[in-house]
Amino acid sequence: MSHYAMVIDTRLCIGCGDCVVACKSENRTPTGLNRDWVVEQTRGRYPDLTTEFRSERCNHCSHATCVLCCPTGASHHWQGSNIVLVDADRCTGCKACIAACPYDARYITPEGYIDKCTFCHHRVAKGLDPACVATCPTHCMHFGDLDQASSRVAELLGKRDYKTLLSGTGNRPNVYYLT
């Protein structure tokens, strides 16, 4: 079992949206829907300013409220890892998970099932990084198994300050932002 995490260095992220485009083409996400997105947060007054860019997506929570609330079991953890997937064959489109997700990471497809970021598990299964991580021109995104002490993600969380989003929900998110 693996504990997959994405670690994103906000010091390097420039908010270019390459992660969004690479995800859309990799996963053929329908027009108008996105599995990841970029948030810009500017604080202060001219000329005393800071800006943080964040590439955001499903947090593949260890304690995933979407999985817990799914009445059909369509939302599930992949192969016992923390990667949260939706099995379209079982999904009835009831949207309970959309309400349960603190990150607004889910959407309903034109076909009527719920979809969202998969951490590109089809690539992970082949030992590849998710498409967003693989394309990021700033190299600000990292992916790996936190349970492997030697992994880059474990190393980065060991030595840098970081935060997660809405850490108070108890969902135990797995997308980390280096600050």
């Binding site: 010091r11 270019c16 390459d18 083409s25 995933a64 079982r90 021109p137 700033t138």
Partner: protein
């Protein structure tokens, strides 16, 4: 605890299905890449950085484009725009067939015609112009990989008038300033060794918003390694947000800052003595020149505190030679741009970073022989003397001068080819001249993939296929290591579109110039060239990029010192050439013109999702960024009763009112300036996604500042006021 929670879940899931047999699920899509996947090497054409990549198709359907791991331009990672490159192929508004302007019942329209008809028409008109006015009276304006084919055609015909807006609307000042100082240009990709720099200063260069791939990657590497980043920009750019020092300078006062930096470097003895003594000319004149330009003087001009100016000069000096002032790329701002770029070149010389690690590396390209074909004869006339004599030091054709040379009975240019450059949105304030030029020209041909504003002026429109459907010349750009990259068609050309090499060859044959294009298919040329350097088309189809060993060191050393192709063979801090032509031999600061009461300075720039107006109709990139925003400081917004999400119009001093543009209220712009990304506000009529969407900075420009040295168009003296839309 955590583990147990999710180990239980598959059980829950099974229960869910067992208990919910009546609920109907949906058919899931197959996992990406589970079908039959083919990959084809490509070279991205979404911008001029020309990254090498792979086009992936699954079960014959376009899937995605990724970077080629062997490619130094991209490091195996395409940028936002390159990743969205399939949209250039899929764009439903692409030009489909050749079109000819016809007049019926007093009204003009474009009539779809066969290639035969279009090409014969052009060839006949060319012959006519040749007979009536001379064979040297055709011009080419071009930006893009296929332009060389038309250049060859016109040269073979006898015409050499040629310009690229990337000179007079973009890189010209940098090119000329570095050539004057170092004897050579910075080149493309820019030879900045940022990955190894310990200190980098960006002067208005918003890397990160302009997404020149290698530049973004190496700057990011520098930040990751804790290099000191200094960003000089009136706007809080993305790069400013990453910087240890952001200097929110008064627009147009950069030369004052650069002079003050020189003052500190020289007077506090922080410059590279060895480099200055061995390799430069005019240091004493420079020392004298900068004596009065101390940081206190610069404070009054730039608004930057003297301590900050000193501190940043110290940082630059402390890390030299692994320290550089980036020359920028789009440098046509205020009309004294060559002088500003000269000042940048001079600060770098004081840092002694030419050919040094962390400064400017020595780029190298592959020595690639040209395919054996007759060489077109040398020009019969001096066309530069005829059309741009007022800028004798301009090494390249000046695009707006070429257009001016199309106007009138006695015009020098009688036939114009425009390849893949949308002149009305590229050259500021050109609309009126272009109208007159189009009236007077006897032939105007536009080659493009999309119906742009410029296509509306054409007599004949030739539809080019996208870069994903064609061969072009091998990419052979100077880099850290010499390399070649192949663009191979990934798909059959859609509609009746054709590659540039085919069009030029077809025209040549109709003009009796077929001998200049002695190939049936362009693959013959590529294969022959590749064979000469020990590769082959077959190999390149497999690997896409081939890297060759360097012949020289990446940096200079004591045993391998630099040489400079200036008149003196030295780095010319003082430029005798400029003095001889009556220009300032040392950079002089001129205070910029100010907007005046009630007006704002319109600043423009790039957005990472788009390459100017060339991609705003690309469906993939349109979705990411469908419109541009007008950035307003909260005070400005309040003064005009505007809030984020409202629409406003800009109005310039001569009464031109722009398209409605959505307002973004942000502290990232100062109360005296406005900012918008360039490339929006199309009016062509045939771009269904982007027509009429967003604001066009270009149409607001009424106060163009021509640089006397390069002839380039300074575009940052545009002053506008605001109206609610």
């Amino acid at each position: 605890m955590k583990r147990r929670d999710f180990i239980k879940l598959p059980g829950l899931a099974a229960l869910g299905v067992a208990g919910g047999g009546l609920l109907s699920g949906c058919q899931s899509r197959p996992l990406p890449g589970s079908g039959e996947v083919t990959v084809t090497p490509t070279v991205c054409e979404i911008c001029f950085w020309k990254c090498a990549g792979w086009v992936h198709a699954e079960n014959g359907e376009p899937w995605k484009i990724t970077g080629n791991a062997e490619d130094l331009h991209s490091g195996g990672r395409l940028c936002t725009r390159g990743s969205g490159g399939l949209g250039a192929y899929a764009d439903r508004d692409r030009l489909r067939q050749p079109m000819l302007r016809v007049e019926e019942k007093g009204r003009q329209r474009f009539k779809p015609v066969s290639w035969e008809e279009a090409l014969s028409f052009i060839a006949e008109r060319m012959e006519q112009i040749g007979e009536r006015h001379g064979r040297d009276r055709l011009a080419l304006l071009s930006h893009g990989s296929g332009g060389g084919q038309f250049k060859r055609l016109l040269n073979a015909f006898g015409s050499h008038i040629f310009a690229q807006p990337s000179y007079a609307q973009c890189r010209g000042p940098r090119q000329v300033a570095f050539a004057l100082t170092y004897g050579e240009d910075v080149g493309s990709p820019d030879r900045t060794d940022m990955a190894n720099a310990r200190c980098i200063a960006l002067i208005g260069s918003h890397i990160g918003e302009n997404l020149h791939n290698g530049q973004v990657q190496t700057l990011s590497e520098a930040i990751a390694r804790d290099a000191t980043l200094i960003t000089v920009d009136p706007r809080f750019s993305v790069a400013a947000g990453k910087s240890r020092y952001w200097l929110p300078i008064g627009p147009g006062t950069d030369i004052a800052l650069l002079l003050a930096w020189m003052h500190v470097l020289i007077n506090e003895d922080l410059y590279d003595h060895r480099f200055v003594e061995q390799h430069t000319l005019g240091f004493e004149q420079l020392r004298e020149h900068v004596q009065s330009f101390n940081p206190e003087w610069a404070w009054l001009e730039t608004g930057l505190e003297p301590e900050r100016i000193r501190a940043t000069a110290h940082e630059l000096g402390r890390h030299a030679p692994a320290s550089l002032v980036h020359p920028g790329r789009h440098t046509t701002w205020y009309g004294d741009d060559t002088q500003r770029e000269r000042a940048i070149a001079i600060v770098n010389a004081l840092l002694g970073n030419w050919g040094q690690q962390g400064g400017f590396y020595r780029p190298e390209k592959v020595e690639l022989p040209a395919y054996p074909a007759p060489k077109p004869a040398k020009p019969a006339s001096d066309w530069k003397a005829a059309i741009q004599a007022d800028h004798p030091l301009a090494p390249k054709g000046i695009s707006h001068k070429v257009i001016e040379a199309c106007i009138g009975d006695q015009a020098q240019v009688k036939g114009l080819f425009v390849y893949a450059t949308n002149l009305p949105m590229t050259i500021p304030g050109i609309a009126d001249k272009l109208n007159r030029a189009a009236d007077d020209l006897e032939l105007m041909v536009v080659v493009d993939t999309l119906p742009m504003e410029v296509t509306g002026y054409a007599d004949v429109i030739l539809p080019e296929c996208s870069y994903l459907e064609r061969h072009d010349d091998l990419r052979n750009s100077p880099e850290r290591e010499p390399s070649l990259a192949l663009r191979q068609p990934a798909f059959e050309p859609l509609h009746q579109s054709k590659p540039a090499w085919w069009m030029a060859k077809q025209l040549a044959e109709r003009l009796g110039l077929g001998e200049y294009f002695p190939w049936q298919d362009y693959t013959e040329v590529l294969d022959w060239q590749l064979q000469q350097v020990g590769s082959s088309l077959e190999e390149m189809e497999r690997i896409g990029v081939k890297t060759f060993p360097r012949k020289t060191g990446l940096y200079f050393s004591a045993d391998d010192p630099p040489s400079f192709r200036t008149a003196s063979g030295k780095v010319e801090l003082y430029s005798q050439l400029l003095a001889d032509y009556g220009y300032d031999p040392l950079p002089r600061y001129t205070p910029p013109q100010q907007p005046g009461e009630g007006y704002y300075r319109m600043l423009y720039g790039r957005a990472p999702a788009h390459t100017f107006g060339r991609t705003t109709n690309n469906p993939v990139l349109f979705e990411l960024m469908p419109e541009n925003h007008l950035w307003l400081h909260p005070i400005t917004a309040a003064d005009h009763g505007l809030k984020s999400g409202d629409y406003a119009r800009m109005k310039n001093r001569v009464g031109v009112r722009g398209n409605p543009i959505r307002v973004r209220v942000t502290e990232r712009v100062s109360p005296r300036d406005l900012f918008l990304a360039h490339g929006f506000g199309h009016k062509a009529g045939g771009l269904r996604l982007t027509d009429g969407v967003g604001g066009d900075d270009g149409e607001m420009m009424d106060n163009i500042k021509i640089d006397p040295i390069t002839g380039s168009t300074g575009m940052r003296a545009t002053f506008v006021t605001l109206e609610k839309a």
